[in-house]
């Protein structure tokens, strides 16, 4: 087996804070001295690059170029530690070993993928090659919500799967489907993360209920936060506001991931 661990972050429904969580977990792992990659496999609606302060002009080659044999994985990996801006949280990543493998946000390139489909042998080769080419300890995969084929591939190849859910009936039902699929695919480590929990909930009770329902550990319960909403993806929240309750919850998830590693 390759040395690096693949960590997929998934949620059955959109709007759970998946990209924010992925970017912050990757940042925490990099801050802990790990060599970390982040791949955006949400090819039809990419967005995680925004959290790292990138726009179309700064991105360069993308996963779309790799899938169309126009670039190598080496050419796509964008060293975030060398491209930090002055934003308080992101600036802390300066010099850290963190690479982003973004998907294209050009409309034509997204529509090309939707129209032509995806060579999964190539996509899987890309995921595995990021680890060997960049000697990664962890590769975090930001997935599309729901169960599409790219998501299933990333789950099937993962060492650790983090499923994010809100304390909401629709999320709970969807999560049970994802947990079943993950178990059918023999994912070695499954962690749950509850996001956007109302402050009035007893978090210890919520954790216990969800762990019983899914027979899987809850690595963190993160509160619904207006501060987080106000941040509006303009910075890496857990680096900018390390003492915030959301950041504390996020760090407990990061510690659970690193403990498996």
């Amino acid at each position: 087996m390759n040395k690096g661990k693949i960590v997929s972050i998934h949620s059955f429904r959109g709007g759970t804070g998946k990209s924010n969580t992925t970017a912050n977990l990757a940042a925490q792992a990099a801050m802990a001295g790990k060599r970390v990659g982040v791949v955006d496999t949400d090819i039809q609606s990419p967005g995680i690059h925004v959290l790292f302060g990138l726009d179309e002009n700064k991105m360069g080659k993308t996963m779309n170029d790799f899938l169309h044999d126009k670039a190598t994985i080496r050419e796509i990996g964008l060293p975030i530690g060398d491209n930090t801006d002055t934003t308080e949280g992101r600036a802390k990543l300066k010099g850290k070993n963190l690479w982003l493998f973004p998907s294209s946000i050009r409309g034509r390139e997204i529509s090309q993928i939707l129209k032509e489909g995806i060579d999964f042998n190539k996509l899987n080769e890309g995921l595995q090659t990021t680890i060997t080419e960049f000697d990664l300890d962890y590769l975090f995969i930001d997935t599309h919500p729901g169960l599409n084929e790219e998501t299933l591939l990333s789950i099937a190849t993962s060492d650790i799967l983090i499923i994010i859910l809100r304390p909401d009936s629709q999320d709970l039902q969807g999560t049970s489907v994802t947990v079943d699929i993950a178990r059918s695919l023999d994912v070695p480590n499954l962690l749950l993360m509850v996001n956007k929990a109302l402050p009035k909930y007893d978090h210890a009770e919520l954790k216990k209920d969800i762990e019983e329902q899914f027979s899987a550990p809850v690595a963190g319960i993160l509160p619904l936060s207006f501060d987080m909403a106000e941040n509006a993806s303009s910075d890496l929240f857990s680096l900018r506001y390390p003492d915030h309750e959301w950041s504390k919850g996020l760090r407990s998830v990061a510690q659970a991931v690193l403990a498996l590693g």
Partner: protein, 124 residues
Amino acid sequence: MPGVFDRLNKEIQDKQQEGGITPLDLASLPPALRKIMRLMLRELQMTYPRLCEAMDEMPEADRLSREDLQSALTTLTEQYWLIRIGEKEKAIYKVNLRRKEGSKLAAGIWSSLNERLKKHPKDT
């Protein structure tokens, strides 16, 4: 004149076009077959001796006997879920995933969308 590498590459490409497994199919495989496929997904390709080594490195409960491994490899290659290049000890196995099909939306929709996107300089 094509070299050995080109020839093998062509052979792999031809075989890849003959089918492949979908990520959802992986979930339905018997445990022994799924174990091999998960290993192959991570390693991309392996020789038979390397596969045997990887099996020996697994926890005892997860290991397959040589006989079971050989039988599983035969099943997987017959289905074109694994591609085998070469024979016996020199065989190299490579995972074969089925391509995700493109959208079935009428072609006119894509050409119309492309025309509209062309009008935006940043998208060209």
